[in-house]
């Protein structure tokens, strides 16, 4: 196994709220290998995006703070880096694309300007060189007529094209890590397929490691090498994409896979599809997390121990944090 590019160890992030201090990330461990795609799955409020923000040094402080643990990038702890160092890391070494390309692009600058800005911040290029590189990047991300499109404002571009511009900005400085936070959720399936295609090409071309945050198991199947499933600020299951999809061990992972109406085989004429599996209830608000497993209240397998003690991640290549799964395995 290659040396990990990024090592997250025991990362804990807290926020102070009106209801007191809440733990948004509770001691998570993650590795990202060079050139791989790591999928992060879970419902809203599970800590997926907070993990990404922590990697970029973007946790708003206050109210948030990194209360413990480390994020080692190439041996350097990002959680201890100062503002200047973070600024040079962001964009140059670690960059990010977001769910809504309309709100992440500046509406009053052209697509070309915004790409050139990122280039001039991190590389010694003058305006003319940066403009030329911006057009090249637009070509790389598959935008037709890049010379003309560089002059377009975000509102003149379709959703798919905006996401391509975001990707062009993100890869402009050849980062080693690309964080993609729900990059296709707002897009049509046909455009989604195009964006995934582009991300794959970029990964092959530049060898960038991708962290794909999504709630879409279909996207995980198609894109991810390894997967971490998050619930209420913890990683509850971790393993290869095949292991997670074919042999999910945590009841939450099983629920997530079971409840998606994925395209299946047709049951037959006039016969309706069987009801979907449901995970009852909702993700508990962070301020109401007590002791014990956070999933216990929604879990079909919960027993006494689950409500008293919080399970740790256990296993070798396929890890799971669940007492019921441990008993099943034993």
């Amino acid at each position: 196994m290659a040396e990990p590019l990024l090592l997250i160890r025991n990362l804990t992030v807290e926020f102070s709220t009106r209801r007191g201090r809440v733990t948004a990330l509770n001691g998570i461990d993650l590795d990202l290998l060079p050139g791989e795609t790591l999928g992060i799955v879970g419902e809203s409020g599970c800590g997926k995006s907070i993990t990404a923000l922590a990697m970029m040094g973007l946790i708003p402080d206050p109210p948030g703070r990194i209360a413990g643990g480390s994020i080692l990038f190439d041996g350097e702890d990002i959680t201890r880096a100062d503002v200047r160092r973070l600024r040079s890391l962001r964009g140059a070494d670690i960059s990010m694309i977001f769910q809504e390309p309309m709100t992440s692009l500046n509406p009053v600058f052209t697509a070309g300007d915004q790409i050139a800005e990122a280039i001039m911040l991190h590389q010694s290029a003058n305006q003319a060189e940066a403009d030329r590189m911006a057009i090249e990047l637009l070509r790389t991300v598959g935008i037709p007529e890049p010379e003309r499109r560089a002059q377009s404002y975000p509102h003149q571009l379709s959703g798919g094209m905006r996401q391509r511009v975001m990707i062009a900005i993100a890869i402009s400085c050849r980062p080693r890590i690309l964080i993609a936070d729900e990059p296709t959720t707002a897009l049509d399936v046909t455009v989604q397929a195009q964006i995934f295609d582009l991300m794959r090409n970029i990964q092959q071309q530049f060898g960038v490691a991708i962290m794909l945050i999504t709630h879409d198991m279909g996207a995980i199947a198609e894109m991810a090498d390894r997967v971490a499933v998050m619930y209420a600020g913890r990683v509850v299951e971790k393993g290869s994409a095949d292991a997670i999809l074919d042999n999910p061990l945590h009841p939450y992972t099983r629920g997530l896979i079971g409840c998606i109406p994925v395209l299946g085989r047709e049951a037959g004429r006039e016969e309706r599809m069987p009801p979907l599996a449901e995970i009852p209830g909702i993700v508990p608000p962070l301020h109401l997390l007590g002791q014990g497993c956070a999933f216990a209240d929604r879990c079909p397998l919960a027993f006494d121990r689950c409500r008293i003690e919080s399970p740790m991640l256990r296993g070798n290549s396929h890890e799971v944090a669940c007492f019921a799964a441990e008993m099943e395995a034993a």
Partner: protein
Amino acid sequence: MTTETLLDVKALSVSFAMPRKSLFGQRPILHAVRDVSFSLRSGQTLGLVGESGSGKTTTAMAAIRLAAAHAGSVLFDGVDLLKLDAEAMRQHRRHLQVIFQDPYSSLNPRKRVGAIVREPLDLMMPNISKSDREARVRELFGLVGLRPDQMVLFPHQFSGGQRQRVSIARALATTPRLIVCDEPVSALDVAIQAQILNLLRRLQNDYGLSYLFISHDLGVVQFICDDIAVMYLGQIVEFADRPSLFSRPRHPYTATLLSAAPSLARRKSAGYVRKGAVKDDPPSPLNIPVGCAFASRCPQAQPKCREEQPVLRGNADGFVACHYPLT
């Protein structure tokens, strides 16, 4: 299964006049829905599928007169809704309800959810006493899986899934026969999606509701719909029942949508790369191409496709508008 037709839409067209480009210029016309016909049987679900901008929402809204159609007819239980005067249409609204996509903007933030659910009753059934209306709201809360003590809360005190339950309760208040569901689960988390889809299905079985279900998620459509109309640039390009459409798509666009849909079986580890994905974006509805609207993105397009517009023609399974349908 033959059941009576509840909604029969014929040759419906909707267009919008856009702002002038110059002071003396013509106002460009955007043809959002072009000559669309379909029918929905009582107690069934008809899915309207397509990319954003394909006209699916406008079609549904025009069918219940929330958008103005400029041609066509909409027979609801034999009555042409487009010909009714304002008061008669208002009276008909009790049979036609809507559930919107965004559970945040579709509920008035300044009203208690009990009052939100009661409002259709206040408007449509003022002859029922207030206490009876309250009792009905209580009953509706139970039906959609909310507790009656939550009636006094405001929308912001609910999660997205719970708000969508409030929307459903409001839609059910006047015991409608048709509910337009406009992407009702696409703003929700996957686990919550399943809860809401199962609820919609159960309510349909219990009350014989008919749904006009708008979605771009084919997994959701396959779960809930009986018949499906695939739309592209304001027209229906394929219409078929669910088993036929999903096992034998006839239109290349339907086939493309199906191959682009996420599936757990398509694995990176097995070297899967999405094939046949269409390039680019759909053409602009302001400038509709001659011939087939899909020709510019179609992998099978022939010269004829760029010259002559295909019409919707019946086949063994349904209807398809394509010169060279797949077999």
